[in-house]
Each structure stands twice: as structure tokens, then as C-alpha cells.
Symmetry: C2
Subunit: 437 residues, 2 copies
Amino acid sequence: MPQVKVGLIGFGTVGAGMVEVLINNRQLIEDRVGAEIVLKKIADLDIDSDRGVKIDTTFLTTDAMEIVNDPEIDIVVELMGGCDQAMEYILMAMEKGKHVVTANKALIAEYGKLLFEMAERYGVDIAFEASVAGGIPIIRVLKEGLAANQIKAVLAILNGTANYILTRMTGEGLSFDEALSIAKRLGYAEADPTLDIDGSDAAHKLTIVISLAFGFPFKYENVYKEGIDGVSPEDIRFAGEFGYCIKLLAIAREVDGDIEARVHPAFVPLDHILANVNEAYNAVYVEGDFTGPTLFYGLGAGRRPTGSAVVSDLIDIARNQVKGIARRVSPISFARPPAKELSLRPMDQIVTDYYFRFSAVDSPGVLSKISGILGANNISIASVIQKSRETHGSVPIVMLTHEAKESNVRKSLELIDKLGIVTEKTVLFRVEKKTGI
Amino acid sequence: MPQVKVGLIGFGTVGAGMVEVLINNRQLIEDRVGAEIVLKKIADLDIDSDRGVKIDTTFLTTDAMEIVNDPEIDIVVELMGGCDQAMEYILMAMEKGKHVVTANKALIAEYGKLLFEMAERYGVDIAFEASVAGGIPIIRVLKEGLAANQIKAVLAILNGTANYILTRMTGEGLSFDEALSIAKRLGYAEADPTLDIDGSDAAHKLTIVISLAFGFPFKYENVYKEGIDGVSPEDIRFAGEFGYCIKLLAIAREVDGDIEARVHPAFVPLDHILANVNEAYNAVYVEGDFTGPTLFYGLGAGRRPTGSAVVSDLIDIARNQVKGIARRVSPISFARPPAKELSLRPMDQIVTDYYFRFSAVDSPGVLSKISGILGANNISIASVIQKSRETHGSVPIVMLTHEAKESNVRKSLELIDKLGIVTEKTVLFRVEKKTGI
């Protein structure tokens, strides 16, 4: 039976998961692939800690170069994280004709273009299923399953920590801080959860998804980003009254040859399948021109799901190797640059529905003043709830608008927030209405 | 640019969808594949009807043998349906070294073993993404995306017609007949909807899913089957009171080295993601040993989604052809028979929770008699609703049980239905409790 030899750089959580899959499902994988996937060496600075997997300690080394330089190794798996050092090892491995598998979303999102070019130059595969949405095989879905489709829109819940926090806030009426501290205690959030909460992690993943869906290396800096720390129990409650919940969405949408790319908390209709994605689950909703709405759901993080995603890439490359080929499908699914490269639609040009929560003094004429400014800026109101109870000496006025342009919205809110009757900065959420589901 | 030439046998709904994808997304597909997928000939007995796609009429023929015998054609797409004639064309095409793409679920479910053997003998690919769940790329997910996993369970909504009918019954309290006639009027059900309603269609699809998930050609006859015509608005209402809805589920589950395979209406907890799959949508919930719960959702039928699934297979084979290979992944995802072939668990040996609706005379001691028989057969009751209002001179007693064995359930109900106090045959539904989602 042919053998495919693997070296692993980075023996952390995902690395241990990968090793566990290879040990537990060795027979199954051999049966499926018709080749043996042999783990030959593992490099990590820490070779002493117990990872809970049985591993021959002679496999372990602190020197990643032993893997990069080992002529027997066919595939290098990079799970060390970070950018500079990881990039260096990957490029050296490619130069030596080794295929690369990585879960490093920041690296792929920020340096994908270079990495894909180098992989092409050296004729090797680079695979990164584990970089987006853990156990959900969304990379393969975009590269192969939906390959016959023009992708029209992607709406995704790509950060399990943020989704867990919002689920707790919604279910139990907790504040953001309360939910965050529960998430930390239960291991859903790290000690420093900044990247999960401010949308950076989701933006990295969205960058990768866009590159695959639309066929060009999208720039991470071009993703508009807002975090969930501004979400309050009050807005979640009002969302519910209007028939919505609040989710941190990563959105890419083709609009008239432009592409929108944004990560922010958004109102999602309660009867949309995405509204039912709770706890630490991830989901990617993809609308193809022929498939229509599809959704791919599962655990977006964790040792076991992410480990199995890494191994699915090993299987893919092993299947190539059994046939004596490589690069059967290009890393971003396009054998050549697509005829139609989309240009970025600036954030102030997007058109969507909005939710506003105004804090205003409780006096007659307030609503008229506010709606006057909105009307003058082409923003029409779909529904309003005006509460009479006082909050800190002011009343909330909440409303949903019809479709409006972001630039008009910003201009209006700037004017409204200067009104004497308005007591606090107006809260804004974008409303993602049902898109065919 | 290399060309891959395709002949289509069967120019019906799905065939027209496939042609539409190839026309509309020609450029995109070329960019992705790096080859041109050229439709060379279409065979159908009816070459006159307008299918709403622009096609050079010189492509059309009434003689499928022109396609089978055309030495230029690389891939034969069989979309004529039926078994005997389709099989004949497919085998002849394979013999001539042509790859085969089909959407024919009955054919794959009932003759898959033979077809896969012949494909192996002739060294060609046979692909059938469109045979299960339309636009959802579930075949690829099982063969590749989740390939590192032992599949533990599949729970799927695989018939859009049945799901549409149950959605209408649940939403509007309609009877089965009322919902069916709406489904017919709106085109969700065919004139003869038998196969959709009695579970046969879902059972065909489940047979295919099992073969891929567990790696051996499962026998269609071994799928246990119950239709939805026995579902009443009353049971849907009681399900709601207990926190469930009723879905036609196709279930495959590995239990201690056995496999359960069954299609029947089942209680699904309202907070399970499957409970939120409504209208004509399909969804496949897959539990892998490492991924944990995953769900794949989309339109399970229709010209456009199914057409795009056919083209995803064409793309797959074209990508092989560009690399000069075939049979990179075996049709059922296993390069060799799996070490562990599961044996069928007979239906009377399954263990699950149950819902019973007894119709009994309204007198004291009834519940005691019924629960006595259940208790004597090791069936313990989880909750009971006893309504006082009379229905046709009897009262309904509904209950949920804890886990019980099907044989014990059947034995008990036989005894209970013979009691003088019981006025009608007891209604039974199986309850699929949350499995980790």
C-alpha cells in the first residue's frame, strides 16, 4: 500500500486533534484513500506536555527544520499559528516540493495571494479547509460542490465565541460583559477575546470565503468590521419585538458587479435558518445563482472538528498522490483568473434596511423631528415602537426602515444626534432581510 | 483550451436545467476548470417541445445510441429516469470508456453495486450528486469533506414534497388531504405523489447516503419505510404541546456495529436545527465522530438546483480529465471495501423514545390499565397528557415514553388495542431526541 508521509509543525490543540484523528481512524482512512497516511515527525517548542494522544516520543522534535528538510516527507502541516515564522517554514517546504496544509486563517487571509503564487510556482498543493468554520467543509463546498454556480451572496456566522455570547444574551437577557465572563469561564472565549469580539477573526475567514467564492484574492483590509461589544440586551429585546434576533454576520454580496464585504452585528429574521444557529455553532449560508439558498452548519472550532478538517485535506492530497497528480483544483478554485473581477463597494454605498434606537426626551414632536430628517435623506420608516417608560430620563424610540443607503443613514444620524431633544448617541444595526430562504 | 465533450440522454426538467447552467455560466465554468465543457448532443424522444433554453436544434436527436456511439463524447449524462433502458445506455457508454453522470436515484439505489463494479472494470467515473438532495452537495461532503470521520448518524429530510405538506399541516392546521391538494396545485406534488408520500423516494436517497457514509452497497429493500399519510393535525398539535414537530425523517445510525435504516414520520425537538427546515427544503444532518453535528441544507429538487448538481459532476470529471486521470475517488468513497461492514439492525430491535396516542373510553382506571401493560413490557412513561374533551365518544390519551425497544412497543400496543376500553387503533410515532445539536 502506498504511503503518504506527513510532518506536523505546531503541536497545540488542533495539532493534537489531527493526530487523534489519524490514530483513531487509521483503518478507515486507509480504506477510503487506498494509501497509508503516515505521521513521521512533529515539531513544537514544547515536546514535554501531555496532549492526551499516544505518540511515539521519538517523533517529537523542537526543530521544525527537521521536517522541512526531510526528503521523505510529502506534506507539511503548519499548525503553529502566527504569520512570519509560519510563512517562512511554508515557503521553504514548498520550495522542496512539499504540499502544505494549514489552519492558519490570518496567514491565508493576509498572504494568500503570495502563498498561492508560490504553490503554483513549485507545483504543490496548499490546502486550508481548517482555516474557516472548523468541521464544516465549506472550502470544498465552494471549490467543488457549488462550482457550477455564480455565488450571489454569503451570510455567515463564522465566530463561535461571538455567537455563544449573543446566544446567552438573547436567552437569558444578560449584558455583554456578563455573557462574556460566562463564555470565558466555560472555555468558549480565550483570556484575550479581542479578535473574536471585534470581528477580526470573522473578517479573516470572510476574506478567504470571498476569494474562493468570487475567484480573486480579496484584501483583508477591505472588509468593513464592527464588533459585538456594542450590542445591548435592550436592542436584543427590541429585535425580538420586531421578529428578529441579533447575530454577528460576515456578509459578502455581489451587487451590480460590485462586492460588499462586511462583518457586523445584524438583525436576522427569526424564521431565517441562520436565526436558529445558536451556541458556539457556525453556519455559512450561500446563495448560488442556480442552487438558490444553501446552508452549511457545524462546529466552527475545537480540537476534534478542526483536527478532522486538517485530515480531510491530507486525504485530498493523498488521493492526488495515489493518482500521481497535484494541483487538480487550484487553491481558490479558479484555474485562471475569472473574466469578471468584482470591485469593492465602499461601505457608505451599501443599501440595506436599518434599525435605529434613538434616546430622546419624552416630549411631543420628537418623532416628527426625527422622521423629518430621515425623510429629507430618503430614508422611509417601516415601523416604529415608541416606549413611554423612561430610561435615564429619556425614552427609547426604535424603528425599522425600508431600504436606505448607508451614506444617507450616517448623514441623518449625525444631524439627529445634534438635536437638543436627543440625549444619547443613536444606536444603529443593519437588518438582513430574508434572502430567499 | 482542452475540451470535455458531453452527451445528454433525457431532456426533461433536470436536463433543461443542466443545459441552462452550461449556457449561462459557460465563462465561469471555463475559468474554474481550465477546460471547456462542450455539450455535443442531446437525445430525447420529444425533440420538439420548448424547454425554455436556447439550443442549436441540430444537437437534438431521438436516438440515444448516437450519443453512446459517438467516439468524441467523453461523458454521458443520463437524465431519462427509469431503470431498464437507462441501465442499458449507461453500461454501453461505460463499455466504450465514457464517464457517466446521472441523477437517477432509483437506479443508483437499486443497482448501484453493479454499476460501480462496471465503472471499475471499464476504468471510468460514475457520478450522481444530483440523485440526492438536489442542490445540496451531500455526496461530495460524504466522500470528501467528512472523509476523516466515522459517520455515526444521518438524520435527513430528503423529500421536499412531504416536507412541504407537513409544513402546511403544521402552520395552518390542515389535514393531510387538504395540504396535499395545495401541494399539487402549487406544483410541489406531482399528479401521482405516491413515491413522495409513502417514503420510497426518501428511502432511495437514504440507501445512497448509507452506501457512501458506511462504505458498502446498502440494499434498498433493507430500509424500513412508513409514509406521512397517517399524520393527523391532532398528532401535530400534541407534538407541539410536548415541544416537538413532525418531520418525515430518513435515518441511518450506527449502533454497536449494527446499522439502523428507516424512513418514517418522527417527532423532532423544536430547538433541533432540523425542526427549522420548512417548506420544500431538504436538509441532511450528519454526525461524524470528530466533526460532531453538521447540517447541509438547501433545495432538494427543481430544475435549477438539480441542474447545477449535475454540472458539478461534469466539472469534477473535467478536472480529472485535465490532469489525465479518472477514478480519483471511488463512487462510494472507499478505495477498498471497509474493514468494518455493518449488519442491519432489524426494525423490531431498534431502541428509541415513542409517542403514543390512545383513544379510550372516558372512564376511571383507563390510564392504569394502559400503563400497566407498558410497564410489564419495560416501557416507562416520560409524560402524559389526558384530555377530558370527547372525540367521537372517546378521549385521547397521549404520552411520550423513555427509551424502549420497538418489539416491546409493538407487543404492548397489540395487547392494549385489544382492551375493551380502547376504541381505536393506537397511533405511534418515534421520537428522535436531540443528538448533540
